[in-house]
């Protein structure tokens, strides 16, 4: 990779500026301002765009022939589409979690990564949002799920967890978007004031909405930000709980489990953080953000991954225990079948990726090594996808009456759709890296030690240790 940018990459080298604040500004802003990104970005973008095309093509084919083009069958009525949906919603959790909960907990280290964690959330939720719409048998009428007044008094059925999903995911997307945008307003102002061309000045000027950093405005801004954070925190926890209700409120053995909400949330945070590091590591290398996204930050995230990973592992174990303890033959069977039945391969992939491999993070050497971090992050993402596959497909393939049993086999279209959703995700993410402030400039400055009245003086050049916050 080095060759890709070492000479050509405008993002590398020391940032300009005579104060730390100026250098911070320049370090982030220059990425968005660079006239021409290095070849590496174009290659990545081309790949992502190709995958996105595949996404479109597969969905077009599906809506033309019917969802039978996917592998969904009887009894596995929910195949890949819902697996992908739950997977992406899960990914979409880290962002708001980092920006909201860690903000409330005054974890200043979040400033390094919250911006693109939030961006990642938006994009992940966008990917997730596609599936409920297209997975239905008649994709031209998902609006039946919205409460639209009509002369036939046809209203949604509000007892359905799917209906809850519509509201939960919709709200989550809106709030995350607001949160993300609000955080970027001051940075847009920065970009506006540094803009060198009229179009940039106009565009950034419009989105900055005339922000000038007035302290009276900062006052309300911070208050609003705090409120949003306070609102988003329960929201994060609720969204995946609601998604888990899709399964928990049903009767199917393997789904009908009260542990699902906390288990899903833990899993979501787990997978979300894994995705953040998966993106953060290349980003900091590629865009020269090492000074802002420090090893320290990665290590902290790895600790979170380790912790949530073990929660997930605990949930896996507890499911078995409860199944055994309930004495319900159908419950017991479904879990034994998971581990030793036809889908055992999927189950053990999940266990290996989500429970065993993350244990490596006990070692500081691993935690603090960017490439290990990256590798484990990727592995966990695979594992989390398989977790959803196991929950949905394994449970459904063998439910109560053996005469219904079947074995789900995905079609090529299924794989195309899955890959395509990643295409959508990375396309959006690369555009974000290219044109938007990848790190929250103002917040990083605010967390800088020079930002604090109690010790004035000129900014030093040392970023190694954490700035204290009062």
């Amino acid at each position: 990779m080095a060759t890709l940018w070492s000479e050509t990459n405008p993002y590398l080298g020391a940032p300009k500026g005579d104060t730390d604040f100026a250098r911070i500004t320049d370090n982030v802003a220059r990425v968005a301002e660079a006239a021409k990104p290095p070849m590496g970005w174009y290659i990545a973008f081309a790949i992502a765009l190709t995958m996105l095309t595949g996404f479109g093509a597969s969905l077009a084919w599906v809506s033309w022939t019917g969802i039978g083009a996917w592998g969904n069958m009887h009894p596995v009525a929910w195949g890949f589409p819902i697996v992908n949906f739950v997977f992406w919603v899960g990914i979409g959790h880290a962002g708001t979690l980092i920006s909201a909960i860690l903000f409330l907990l005054r974890q200043t280290w979040r400033t390094a990564i919250n911006r693109f964690a939030e961006a990642m959330t938006i994009f992940a939720v966008s990917c997730a949002g596609v599936f409920p719409g297209v997975h239905i048998g008649r994709p031209w009428m998902p609006y039946y799920m919205f409460p639209i007044p009509n002369q036939m008094n046809m209203w949604p059925q509000f007892r359905s967890p799917l209906e809850w999903d519509i509201f939960a995911v919709g709200t989550y997307f809106t709030i995350s978007l607001l949160f993300w945008f609000m955080g970027m307003i001051p940075d847009f102002a920065t970009l506006r004031d540094r803009a060198t061309t009229t179009p940039r000045r106009l565009i950034y000027g419009i989105v900055a909405m005339g922000w000038r950093g007035s302290s009276r405005q900062w006052h309300r801004y911070e208050r609003a930000y705090l409120l949003l954070a306070a609102l988003a925190t329960p929201l994060v926890l609720s969204v995946h709980s609601v998604v888990s209700f899709d399964f928990a409120t049903s009767q199917a053995p393997g789904w009908h489990t009260t542990i699902f909400p906390p288990y899903f949330v833990a899993g979501a945070i787990f997978g979300g953080f894994a995705m953040v590091v998966t993106l953060a590591v290349p980003a900091r290398q590629f865009f020269g953000l090492k000074r802002l996204i420090e090893i320290r930050h990665l290590e902290l995230m790895n600790k979170v991954i380790l912790a949530t990973g073990m929660m997930v592992g605990y949930a896996y174990g507890m499911e078995f225990f409860i199944a055994w303890y309930s004495g319900n033959p159908y419950e017991v069977f479904v879990f034994v079948n998971r581990a030793f039945g036809p889908y055992a391969w999927a189950y053990w992939t999940m266990i290996a990726c989500n429970v065993l491999i993350p244990q490596l993070h006990w070692f500081q050497k691993v935690r603090t090594n960017v490439w290990c971090t990256l590798a484990i992050g990727v592995v966990i993402n695979v594992g989390m996808w398989f977790e959803r596959f196991v929950i949905i497909c394994t449970s459904m393939s063998r439910d109560f009456m053996p005469a219904n049993w079947g074995y789900f086999v995905p079609s090529t279209i299924d794989y195309l759709t899955l890959g395509g959703s990643f295409g959508l995700f990375f396309t959006l993410f690369l555009l974000f890296c290219r044109f938007l402030p990848m790190v929250a400039i103002a917040e990083v400055k605010g967390a800088h030690r020079d930002a604090h009245a109690n010790h004035g003086g000129h900014g030093g050049h040392d970023h190694s240790h954490a700035p204290e916050t009062a």
Partner: protein
């Protein structure tokens, strides 16, 4: 000053509006009067560190100024106190919105599922709270969140397109690394000399006059206006089309891209089927076939004949009762009266109209005529069944039982005209008198 030199190039490039740049002023079609004689808007002091700014702010605050503000690249800790900013009312706004969202959610779910169109769902009550909690929560958060964002913008007076400070080149660093303090001339306590000295006492890195903005035109750029007009025009088009579609007539059926189950492949009654020469999907029964329950082998009932001759009495299945009489009257009214008239004199509405048009219309028989009165019931029944002269057959339309009912009513009708006193009871005769 040295610090400026390093970044001067950058700044000159990035200043939003430049006095030196004519093309800037050309951007606005109406040329305002020149900037030179612009009155003073306020005094701008620049500081390098937040702490200097805070000290300065405290001085300005203590001096009792009200129309002044500080500008920082990030929220400076403690500046609120230093400036004496009061707590915003935003949280109360958000609380209100949250409650609104909550009540909307409750009302929506209750009214739609329990009142407007109640469903029996899984043997559960029409209204039971637990299932409705998730959506109540989500709407609460949604409303609150949006209000927090929008409220913040509105209270901050954003978006704010232009500000005199934009004309100060060094002010661009307010979003980068410098800290500014602005005291406006509008402030009642503002005194050009005193205020300047007050600020100088706080050792700013620089202290500058800020003139009013005379270059930026107050009115909206014409380009924007035209743009908006075009957009509105485009936006109206679809609605115009809808309106046209609703008001104009067309031979085409309505647009209906996806047929789904609206047009069924099955053949409903009387539909077209091109397989057959006559295009009918309804087929005639094959000659000689007998459908279940349609074996009409009772001559008396179905032909009105008793061993070959017209039946003079009603068939055994038909017992003349008041109900049957009512039924007969009703059927008569439906099928016979239009031509034969309510009283059977052959003067029904159809007849009146037809004879007015007078196109060889034969008047329907008057059922009170002698020869009809003398016909056996079987023959009347037969006439109704198969028609006579220009009267069509009613067999296919009226069930045999009903035809007999009509016959019964006919007989009564005839009687009503041809009754003789002898058939009346005493008090009936009394009433006649």
């Amino acid at each position: 000053m040295p610090t400026m030199a390093g970044t001067a190039g950058m700044i000159t490039l990035t200043r939003p509006r430049q006095l030196e740049e004519p093309q800037m002023s050309e951007m606005h079609h109406k040329k305002p009067e020149s900037q030179e004689d612009a009155p003073l808007f306020g005094l701008l002091a620049e500081y390098n560190t937040p702490s200097e700014l805070i000290l300065a702010s405290q001085k300005v605050r203590d001096a009792g100024f009200t129309r002044w503000d500080t500008f920082t690249p990030f929220p400076v800790h403690g500046i609120d106190r230093a400036m004496g900013i009061k707590m915003t009312r935003l949280p109360w706004l958000v609380l209100g919105a949250a409650l609104a969202g909550l009540s909307l959610a409750i009302w929506l779910q209750w009214w739609t599922n329990a009142v407007d169109y109640p469903w029996i769902i899984s043997g559960k009550p029409f209204w039971s709270l637990p299932a409705n909690v998730p959506i109540m929560f989500e709407l609460t958060v949604l409303f609150a969140g949006i209000t927090a964002m929008v409220g913040m913008l509105v209270m901050n007076g954003l978006p704010e397109p232009a500000h005199p400070l934009d004309l100060k080149r060094r002010f661009a660093r307010a979003t980068d690394d410098k800290f500014f303090l602005l005291v406006e001339t509008r402030d009642p306590r503002f005194d050009e000399v005193l205020t300047r000295s007050l600020l100088e006492k706080s050792h700013p890195a620089a202290l500058e006059d800020v003139p009013e903005d005379r270059t930026t035109s107050a009115q909206i750029p014409t380009g924007l206006i035209y743009g908006l007009i075009v957009l509105t025009a485009i936006a109206v088009v679809p609605f115009a089309l809808f309106a046209k579609a609703r008001t104009t007539k067309s031979r085409n059926t309505r647009i209906h891209a996806i047929a789904d189950m609206d047009s069924q492949p099955k053949f409903k009654t009387q539909r077209e089927n091109l397989i057959f020469a006559d295009g009918r999907s309804m087929r005639d029964p094959v000659a000689g076939t007998v459908a279940q329950g349609q074996l009409r082998d009772d001559d008396a009932l179905y032909l009105g004949k008793v061993n070959g001759a017209w039946a003079r009495t009603f068939p055994s299945q038909v017992t003349p009762t008041a109900e049957l009489m009512d039924r007969g009257e009703q059927r008569f009214g439906i099928y016979c009266a239009p031509c034969h008239g309510q009283s059977g004199e052959g003067d029904g509405m159809v007849h009146l109209r037809a004879s007015k048009l007078g196109q060889g219309w034969v008047q329907p028989s008057n059922i009170h005529q002698q020869y009809i009165r003398e016909q056996p019931v079987g023959q009347l029944f037969n006439t109704i069944t198969h028609g006579i002269r220009s009267m069509p057959a009613y067999g296919p339309q009226i069930s045999a039982e009903d035809r007999w009912a009509i016959v019964l009513y006919l007989r009564a009708l005839e009687k009503s005209r041809a009754a003789n006193l002898g058939e009346l009871t005493a008090e009936q005769r009394q009433n006649l008198k």
